[in-house]
Amino acid sequence: MFAAGYSVSDDQMLNDVDDTENSHIPADLLPVFTPPNPWPISPNFENDFIMISEFCEIEGPNPLITIPSDGGGDFDKEQFAVNIMSVDYNATNSSRAANGVFTIYDDTCLLQEELSEGAHAYVHHFTLYDIHARGFVRPFCLAYITSEKNKLVVHFDKIINKFKKVTEAFKYGNSRNFCEDLKRKLKDLAFTKENHVSKLQYMATSETVDDIKTKTSYTRVMEELEKAIGETTQILNQFSTLKVNKRLERRFKKMDASENHRRQRVHSQSASLHGDGYHSEGSEMEKGFSIRKCQSNEILDSGHEASYQPKLIKVDGYRKFDVNLRSLQELCLWGAKIAMSKLKRFYKHFSRRSEALSMEKMESNIVKPASSLLTIGRTVTVNFIPENYVQCCKVPYHHPHQSSVCKTCNVDDRISLMTCSSTNTGGPLTDDEDVYSFLPSSFEAKFITGSDFASTESLYYDASDIPSIRDSSSDASSDFNEDWVEIMELSSQRSSSPNHDSGTCTDKHSNSNTSLGDGISGPQQTNGGVPQTMDDFILDKTQLYDSSDRDSLDVDSDMVHSDTEKPNPENNCINSQTSILVRCASGNSLDKFHVPSEPIQVPVGCYVSWLTSNSSRFPGCKLRKILNQYSFAIHLIYALFSGRTVIITGHLKHQKEIKHLITALCVFIPGHSSHSQIIPWYTKPITIADVGRLKLVGLAKEGSLHRVIPGVVRNYVSIFDFDKQVMYTPSYKGNYLQTLVAQCRLLRSDVSFLAYIQSVFLEMSSKAFLFYHAYCLADHNSKQSNEHFMNSAEEKSTINSFLARLGITDADSHIIMYWTELIKQQQLNSNSRFASFPLKSIRLDYRICSKFSSNPS
């Protein structure tokens, strides 16, 4: 029996396996071990997305918007919204919700996993205020959902910052709106109160029982009214104590003004709409609707505020919350627009591969100061004196008893200092330096035709990136910002007499200290002093970006302007301790060479950004093909590397090919100053002055070569005659480029080759780094050159023997020396103290050219 029973069950089991139906087997008999899936659960969505959801008091948790609009794929957004919104983070703090007193809530953020979906999310809760909502609160939530957990962990600080900035915009718009509503309500209450008082006075004369009853009810109403008034004023007071984000304020004003302007034209039509909304004492529904209408039309008009006609309202009785509440846009007005554009930009940047993000983060550490940064092909290679290095070097100078102070001063960097101070005080976050906006989110090679000088760097701008590039200027200008310092440098550079010595530096220093101490006044004054300079500055920038697309810019176009005179909103809230730290930190930053305030700013990025971008036309694409096609490519690269202007000239019909060639070759352009520009297509004859500023030019050949390249210029440039496929350039005899070109045949794809050449760049630039520090900045050098009669010939041979010891032979030494010179020039240009060296100098290259032909035959 036992056996039979067993056999039956065995049979059954086999059947079950076949039928895949084992429901009647007790759970404990089922195999316990289930091998874990070695692969991560494939997420239900391909790309990252941002979701905005709301805990709606009528419908419950509700996903509102996703970025991109079709983001998320099969991801169960409703369920996720329930998950993230099911906790009231605001209520966890007992002190807040305790006595039912209205409080302004801080944001809450956390990382959350949704294992079943293979998703990881950064969740950011924030609260908006709505006069029609229960308890006046409208809980919202932003979530960044991705399948890569690492991305969130590594860049957590950045996400927090960015999202805080987003909610800041939401909240600023909302608080403005909410305060307007409250003020209106206050007027209503006052009006109602007045009404009641007159009624009471009238009733005081009659003494009937009925009247007494009403009278008591009236007094109760009066009490309610008083209470409501008290409550509303208290809330208003709370909002008025909030710090105002000046920057957002200005931006709002700009948008208001433009909106007003627009509306004035259609004012007559809308005027009739205003009238009826206010006086109707209909249902809640109607009222909500009317307010919605009025706010959308009228709140923005400050002129209408005074003419608001109060109405009687009911204070007792119950409120019904069955009304459709206002949407996010209606709650936040411009705030929503600003915040959404910020979010979209963040998404565009952050939804890329995490490798690219990490690489950018790594490289962004050495980006500053830009003056000592060596870039090749506009990508970060080596910083000769990175900020951190300078700080390290400074430590030994400090006296022992001060070391603790120094440590706190030098702690990590200013970024951490700023974020900590701003989170502690809970004040509005101002945009601190945004690394990612410094690095354009994706490089897409885009040529804008015409040889207009202003648009030369259009090559590097993706039109949609322009806001972020613009933003970089504004973002960098925030807080203890360098931007106005930079401006000061500019101004002092212009106004300074030739014999400006170290005094300037001290001046600047003290300036910065006072301005940081005094808070707002300092920077404003500084800016007030040099409006013209600033204008020029902006002008140049706008010129540069004039090829932008308009629609995405309407929000941002005013930003540059508004931010220019941006005061320092942060300072008020910092307690004394932090302010000292900050002062010190920014003092440090002042000492160093600062971001060059050259009129032409060239965006510098990370090469990984190109490689991971989806575009098929990144700088350097088809490079392998070109190297294989042209036997003289090595000499061409040598010319670019050693700072010789390369002109690729050809007939108009070859314009496209030449531009392609330039896209590929621009990865070899060292430097990012206005002295090393790339012009894809130029139609004027080259002059000697052009040789100084252009490094790679596509030149339209009209008629003969002599006409477009005069004899004077010809001696100092390398010429690639595209029509004849002939190149005139100094020939290369060295090691580095040989290996670089040889590798081209081994690597199969452009992307891997481009990644490889970065390693060659790094190796070469490390030699330049050595040369710079061990020779150029060395002491022996100073003694020698102090002598009045410096012998250039001797100097030259010393340099050569030094480089030889580094293993650098003749042709390579040209490259190394040029790169070093480039850094030195950048440093001097960026520093106003060297007013004696602001002149552009053109290197004359006497190397003799050889003729190369692409067909060896």
């Binding site: 400090h398 001060q402 900045l777 030195k824 001097l828 552009k840 100098s841 004359l844």
Partner: protein, 442 residues
């Protein structure tokens, strides 16, 4: 095409009648950096040195610009309505002033510190050609068709008009308040005499013989000798005391009038009170004014007329500028050995130029031919003038309206090293300051 790429140059150099081309890579040319200034809008005619770091340039755009060799433009003097033809720098009551004479028949006085026009003088009735200061009697003299004498406040003292319609081009101030004035082919000696308390100009004599063609240059060699040179190529050496012609150099006896003056002398550069470099047509020569011997003859130095000559870069090179748009650097190709200096009859300045040739062939029988050591090429038109700034470099100006500063690249690089090093050191100090201020604040 081959010419541009500078191939097979050495063979050409050996041939006397061809213009030498520059050696590959120009290892001896120190000027590897230039700064180009485009502030002038028309042909730049002259450059005048103000002091070690400043110079003024005059252009056909009727402006004069004050430059700093390191900083670039300092002031633009705008006021003349016609091109400026002559300039004179002087100091009056501790103020540096610049007097400019122009084809608009006025002289303007500019303040070099403020850039303002301090005075405008309108006495002249024709184009002003020359301005000199006579330091011994604190007077100024200007030449147009008339000769004017001015006091320090530019009030007219005396004006004479010796010849109708003949422009006077040059004035050379000799000792004893004497002036040699050139007008067309003639040289005339004037004397400033004091009658009562008024200075007067008086014609003393004409210097004879006259040149066959218009006089282009008039320079003083020493206290006792001056030189004049004319379009026909003749260079006359005059004694300042007797005013007789002691030597006639480069004289072509069978000279025939020729419309483009194939031997014209454009420039004279006196050296060491005894020698004179002359820019003759496309080449240059060095003469000993005492013996009349031609020491150096480089008849085909440039592709076009030589416009100016100077010893530059601490005397290391002779530079010649030309209408072909280049400045060429000449010297001795071989390594110069310092021992020859003591024995040589030339002073240090020329010893670089001659190198060892001096020792072996002294006195030289054949005129020496210097080697072309470098070619500075950045102007796209004729170079009208250039100025030596010692080891700092050169300033050149030309018909392409550019002003170019030529710098020693290695020296500049080394200067940059120093500046950066200084600033880094300063940063270290600054950091200490910061820390101490923090310490105080705590």
């Amino acid at each position: 095409m081959a010419l541009f790429w500078r191939s097979n140059r050495s063979e050409q150099a050996k041939n006397k009648n061809t213009v030498p081309t520059v050696e590959a890579n120009q290892p001896l040319n120190p000027f590897t950096e230039i700064q180009v200034f485009t502030d002038h809008t028309d042909i730049v005619r002259q450059i005048l040195k103000v002091d070690a770091t400043r110079c003024v340039s005059s252009s056909d755009d009727c402006t004069v610009i004050l430059w700093d060799v390191e900083l670039g433009i300092l002031f633009t003097f705008v006021g003349h309505s016609r091109p400026v033809t002559c300039m004179l720098c002087y100091v009056s009551e501790n103020t540096e002033l610049l007097a400019t004479g122009s084809s608009d028949k006025t002289i303007r006085i500019w303040n070099l510190h403020t850039g303002e026009c301090a005075q405008t003088v309108t006495e002249h009735a024709s184009n002003i050609k020359c301005l000199v200061s006579i330091s011994s009697s604190e007077l100024f003299c200007s030449a147009s068709e008339e000769l004017c004498l001015w006091d320090t406040d530019w009030k007219i003292v005396h004006k004479i008009r010796p010849n109708e319609d003949v422009q006077m081009n040059h004035i050379l101030v000799l000792s004893d308040d004497r002036l040699v004035v050139s007008a067309a082919t003639k040289l005339t000696l004037y004397k400033i005499i004091l009658i009562g308390d008024v200075y007067r100009l008086q014609i003393l004599k004409n210097c004879l013989p006259h040149h066959r063609e218009n006089i282009r240059c008039l320079v003083s060699i020493s206290d006792s000798v001056f030189c004049s040179a004319s379009l026909d190529g003749a260079i006359s050496v005059w004694s300042t005391h007797a005013l007789n012609c002691t030597q006639e150099l480069n004289k072509f006896e069978d000279y025939k009038e020729h419309y483009n003056f194939p031997h014209s002398v454009q420039y004279l550069l006196p050296i060491q009170e005894r020698y004179v470099f002359a820019a003759i047509a496309n080449g240059f020569s060095l003469y000993d004014v005492f013996t009349g011997k031609c020491l150096v003859n480089m008849s085909n130095a440039h592709f076009s007329s030589v416009t100016s000559l100077a010893m530059i870069y601490g005397g290391e090179f002779l530079a010649s500028s030309s209408e072909d748009g280049t400045i060429r650097l000449w010297g001795c190709n071989e390594k110069h050995s310092p021992t020859t200096e003591a024995t040589s009859e030339f002073k240090k300045e020329l010893s670089h130029f001659f190198g060892n040739n001096l020792q072996s062939t002294s006195p030289p029988k054949q005129p020496y031919q210097p080697s072309l050591l470098g070619q500075c090429m950045a102007h796209s038109g004729a170079i009208n003038a250039f100025l030596d700034c010692g080891r700092e470099g050169l300033v050149s100006c030309g018909a392409d309206s550019l002003l170019i500063m030529w710098k020693d690249g290695i020296r500049q690089s080394s200067k940059r090293n120093n500046l950066i090093r200084e600033s880094l050191l300063l940063n270290g100090c600054m950091d200490e300051l910061t820390v101490s201020s923090v310490h105080l604040a705590c």
